[in-house]
Every structure is written in C-alpha cells, then in structure tokens.
C-alpha cells in the first residue's frame, strides 16, 4: 500500500481567489508573447541541405543537357517502384573540332523519365544508387495537384540546373566521405 502524502495547502491557496488572480496574471502575460504558429503558405518551411525533398534530375549548367544516362539503377533501387525510365542513344557528348565531328561519342540519355510522386516515399535510395550524380533529393516539399495524372512527373517537371542542387550534392559527398574513411574493421 502506498500512502500518498498530499501537499498541505496554505490559506491563500484554500481561499482559491488569490490563486485565480495568479493564474490570470500568467495568462495575461502570455497574451503579449509572440505566437509560435507558422503562417504556412506565407512563411514556408525552413529547408537546408539535409532536407530530403522530392527527387529531381540534375542538368549541366553549360548546355542544359541532362546528366542521366538511363542506366536504370535508380529504377532498380526504388523500393516503391515509382521510377520508370525509357532510354535512347544520344551523341550529345560528341567531340567536335572547328564544328566538325571528329569522334562520335555515343551515350545514352532518357527519352522518358517518370517519377510517380504518388508512389515516391522520398527515401533517397535513387540518389544513393546513381553513379552519374544525376538524381538528387531537392529541397522542394510541396506536392499538390488536382488530378493523379498530373502527379506523375516527367522530364519537364524533374529537370533542375545542377547549381540549384549544389548544396545537397556537396552534403552527399561529405556524408559518403565518412564511410570511405578507414575504420577499425578494415
């Protein structure tokens, strides 16, 4: 058996009114403190390089060409089966001298690259799988539309200049370096 020792109330506490005035002064002071609520559409959520937002495809700053070579690793890595890639050949990296193509460097690029944002779980596996630094989790968080079809993002909606993704890319490199450092198990 536990005997709970009750706190002996003082006279002013038993009279109740002084305690009411104390409480009211507390709530009155609270009225002048700033509100903690964020006014969301006007005040967007703070984001930084750690923010794992929606995946975006990086494009080179020089010519706007897409970095993706449609290898399909992200497609395979995606646990939600959200990515669909259809590739094609391209000679975008052909080496030219004085306007003449000296060596045609055949590469692949995605004809279609679709991410079903309704399926995407923002896990970032695609970002880790990518060997060409082509897909990164951006800081874009807002995802709303009127039809389901509009939420299947194609190339037009996924392309971002690599400079806008730079903080995230640097962050990923920093994190990966940590794993490459020598460890006790090696």
């Amino acid at each position: 058996m536990v005997i709970v020792k009750r706190k002996e109330l003082s006279l002013s506490e038993r009279l109740y009114l002084p305690e009411i005035f104390r409480g009211m002064s507390m709530t009155f002071r609270a009225m002048f403190k700033p509100a903690v609520t964020r006014q969301y559409p006007e005040e967007p959520l703070p984001t930084d390089e750690v923010t794992r937002g929606q995946p975006r495809l990086a494009t080179n700053d020089e010519d706007g060409s897409i970095r993706c070579v449609s290898c399909g690793l992200c497609e395979a890595a995606c646990p939600a089966y959200a990515i669909t890639i259809d590739g094609q050949d391209t000679d975008r990296n052909a080496i030219t001298i004085a306007g003449d193509v000296t060596e045609k460097f055949i590469e692949r690029e995605p004809k279609e690259f679709e991410i079903d944002m309704l399926r995407c779980i923002l896990c970032g596996f695609c970002e880790e799988a990518c060997p060409k630094d082509a897909i990164f989790m951006s800081d874009e968080l807002e995802l709303a539309d009127f039809t389901r079809k509009d939420l299947i993002y194609g190339l037009d909606k996924l392309k971002r200049p690599v400079s806008t993704l730079r903080p995230r890319i640097d962050y990923i490199y920093k994190v990966n370096e940590r794993w490459q450092a020598s460890s006790s198990t090696r």
């Binding site: 009211m24 002048f32 403190k33 509100a35 903690v36 609520t37």
Partner: protein
Amino acid sequence: MDMLITIAVIVVKITCIYGGMIVIAALTTLAERKVSAWIQFRHGPNRVGPWGILQPLADGVKFIFKEELVPDSANKWMFRMAPALSAMPAMMGVAVIPFAAESPLYKDSGPLAIADLDIGVLYVLAFSGLSIYGIILGGWASNSKFSLLGAIRASAQMVSYELAMILSIMAIVVMSGSFNMTEIASLQAGPLWNWNIFSQPVAFMLFLIATFAETNRHPFDFAECEPELVGGFHTEYSSMRFALFFLGEYCAIFVMCCMTVVFFLGGFEVPFWEDAPWFIQVGAMVSKVVAFLFLFIWVRWTIPRFRFDQLMGLGWKVFLPVALVNLLITGGLVSAGIL
C-alpha cells in the same frame, strides 16, 4: 404628432441598441477566439478580412448553409422552439439598460434606454431567469442523455446561483433606494470612489462570480461541459438553431456585463465629470462593458472547470450566507444613516 415622434424615437432606439448588441455579440465570438489564441501562443482567425474581422460573418454564412438535423426521437415542436426561447429572454434584458442619461434624439425623451422602467432591476433579473427554460426544453426535447444531463445541471446551477446573485444586488438596491437602472447609475456620478464597487466590494465579487454561473460560462459551464457531456444541452443541435443558442449566450453575456457596469461601475457616468455629453457617456458605458467582456473571455481561458458538486456547495454554503450577511450589514448601515 407627439405620439408619432415618440414612436419614431422608440423605433430608432430599439434599432440602434439591438443592432449594437448583435454586432458586439458577434464581435465577442471573434474576440473569444482571438484572445484564446493569444493566451495559447497562437494567431487566431486572420484569414477572413483584415485581422480576421469578418470571421463572424463567415461563421454566420456557414451556419446558414449547414443541414438542420432534428433527431427522430426528439419532441419536434419543443426542439424547434427551444433556441428561440433561450435567445429571446437574453436579448430582452438589454431593453432596460441605460446607455446615457439624456437621449440625443428628442428633448425630454428620458435616458438612452429602450424602456426606462422603474422596476428595471426586477425586469432584467426576471428575463435572465427565463432564459433557463430554453436550455431545459432544448435538453429535454433532444431525447439524448447528454442533453438532458446538461439541462438538469443548468437548472440546478441556476437555482443555487440566482439566489446569491439577487441578494447581492439587493444590497445595491437598498443603498440606492431604487429599482430603476438609470437612477442606480446616476447615483454613482461624481468622483471615482462614488462607484458602488468601492462601497460594496463583497457584493461585487458575489455578483461577478454569479454572472459567470448565470451565463453558463467557464468555470461554471456545466450545461455544456464538452469533455463530459459532448455539448451538453445543444449536443443535438446544428445549423442556425445552434447558432441561435450561441448568439443567445453571447447576448446574455453582454447584458450581464451591462448589469455589472450599471450596478457597480457607475454605468454611463464618467468619473469626475458629471453631465457629460451623451456620446461620451455611451462611450464610457461601452468601454466599461467591453472591459468586462474581455474579463469573461480571459477567465474562460484561465480557470479550469469546477466539479458540479463544488459549484452547488459554493452556491449554497458560501455565497448565500455571505450575500445574506452583506445585505444585513448594508441594511443596518443604511437605516443608521451611515451609507
């Protein structure tokens, strides 16, 4: 011709005072949400109009478009009548509240009140007592246990508090020697310490606490009491009928604040300035009332709800004896010629 002018004056008074009361009641609902938000470190409504000022209007539109549900097992006729029975007496009370000593509309038309009754105090007490019928009928006609419990609590609370409230006012009536609201207010003209709150602090506290119980406000809102009784007497109500209950509640709060101001804070009288012009007096009255409305909201968001038996014990075992002794002492002092 005189007759016509009198009627016109009364119609204008009714329009202005009732219109003003409804507007203030609507704005009180906004203030309630704003103040509660500030106390809880929130912003409150700020989307409808500048500073959310049009929120009551948006609420009204919403209520109109809601479906009106009547429970199958309800007593339909009484169910439909109850909100009106609750709101009407609450609004009737404002008829005898004086807002200025002189009416600006027409010479010798008396104070700026819809009806300057000689038994104004009794009138307003009678109507605030009547408003309980709407709650009881609404609770009973809903045929729901929560509604019925709320109604029973409201009536029991009413009986235990009305008595202490009236006895505390009687002390003021004995001092003023009149049941006329305008006269009670006018007697407090002159310096600040002429206000009854300074000569009757005990009666003031009793009356103030009783008004919280009377208007079913926190910390005595047992009739609604969301955590225990869902919504209390208005559990089954929806749409405009619920809005009418709501409006009645806020009008009752407004009338009670007016009464407190008239009885204890000099009503329309401005301290140290007798015979102020009518608009100054109206301004003084309204600002005092608004201060009390703020107090009502402030208390609601500070004090937790009492237990029901605590309220009954407080009403019968503390307030009633204190009010009686207060009345006895006041009567003694008045008959001795001291007060």
